[in-house]
Symmetry: C2
Subunit: 148 residues, 2 copies
DNA sequence: TTACAACAATTGTATATACAAATGTACAGT
DNA sequence: ACTGTACATTTGTATATACAATTGTTGTAA
């Protein structure tokens, strides 16, 4: 990924700017590949993330606020995101008995099964994306990203 | 930026997945800061990018396809993106004389002036984002990002 | 008990983006 | 001139996201 070539400039870009642009370009590539990988399942990356969080709960239901905390999205989107998963039959939604303000979300059997399939493809996609980097380099990269 | 803490998992995440997630989180942070920085000007990051490309042309007009090549966006969005800049008075749009299929876009004086102000703020934002990294580390990071 | 603040989720609205289809223009071959 | 094809941009539509305002629920202090 040659930044200067991609954005087609002859000018030398300052190192700091170059780094930010570079990160955005890499992220674009990631998004593109991940989105493509998930397309056959009809779920977005965010929806996929919700399903993974729910699975991590091991049966214990999550309310929307909890889901939201672990996601990038804004609260209002989380509601609609869960709507989508609901119509697909991947999650259940019930109001909490002890606190009727809360909504409890759980992953369904169908959701889990689909998630297993998605996992395999996502794993493959991730591997493809980082295939040019050694383990040592991946660790270095994570080390550097920690500084953000 | 501690990935495990942010996504609140105790489980060890495989290195490859962790790297992808890490990159997405860093990108989120970048987006958030950049969006905030541009908000006072009423332009989106994409609109800002278009303005920068146009300035790079030094008076020579760009058509939509050219703009599009240098951007991440899809063609259909580029049209609407330029619409927005047009209503703000930051760009001019005329049909090309020699090839009436083409649309020529140029940055206006007002657009240039605003862009100068945006540049300063963006520069500051970028510096803040990478403030924890030395020049050597920035170079290392760019080197690793090249492998995507 | 009433009033009020805090909480949890939802809805409305504007904007952004992806993808496909449609419009208008140029040009090459017949 | 006529036809078809490629080109350049635009429009339609569905979905995604941000932000603000709203609804409904709970706990608490007067």
């Amino acid at each position: 990924m040659d930044v200067e070539k991609i954005i087609k400039t002859k000018k030398e870009i300052p190192l700091e700017s170059r780094t930010i642009i570079h990160l955005m370009l890499v992220n674009n590539k990631i998004m593109e590949m991940v989105t493509t990988a998930l397309k056959p399942f009809g779920v977005s990356l965010q929806q996929f993330n919700v399903l993974r969080i729910l699975r991590g709960q091991e049966g214990k239901p999550s309310n929307l606020s909890t889901l939201n905390e672990r996601m990038v999205t804004k609260m209002s989107n989380t509601t609609r995101l869960v709507d989508k998963l609901l119509t697909k039959g991947f999650v259940d939604r019930t109001t909490c008995e002890s606190n009727r303000r809360k909504i409890e979300i759980t992953i369904t059997k169908k959701g889990s099964e689909m998630l297993t399939q998605m996992d395999a493809i996502m794993k493959k996609t991730e591997s493809t994306l980082v295939s040019q980097l050694s383990n040592k380099e991946l660790n270095e990269l994570n080390f550097l990203l920690n500084k953000f």
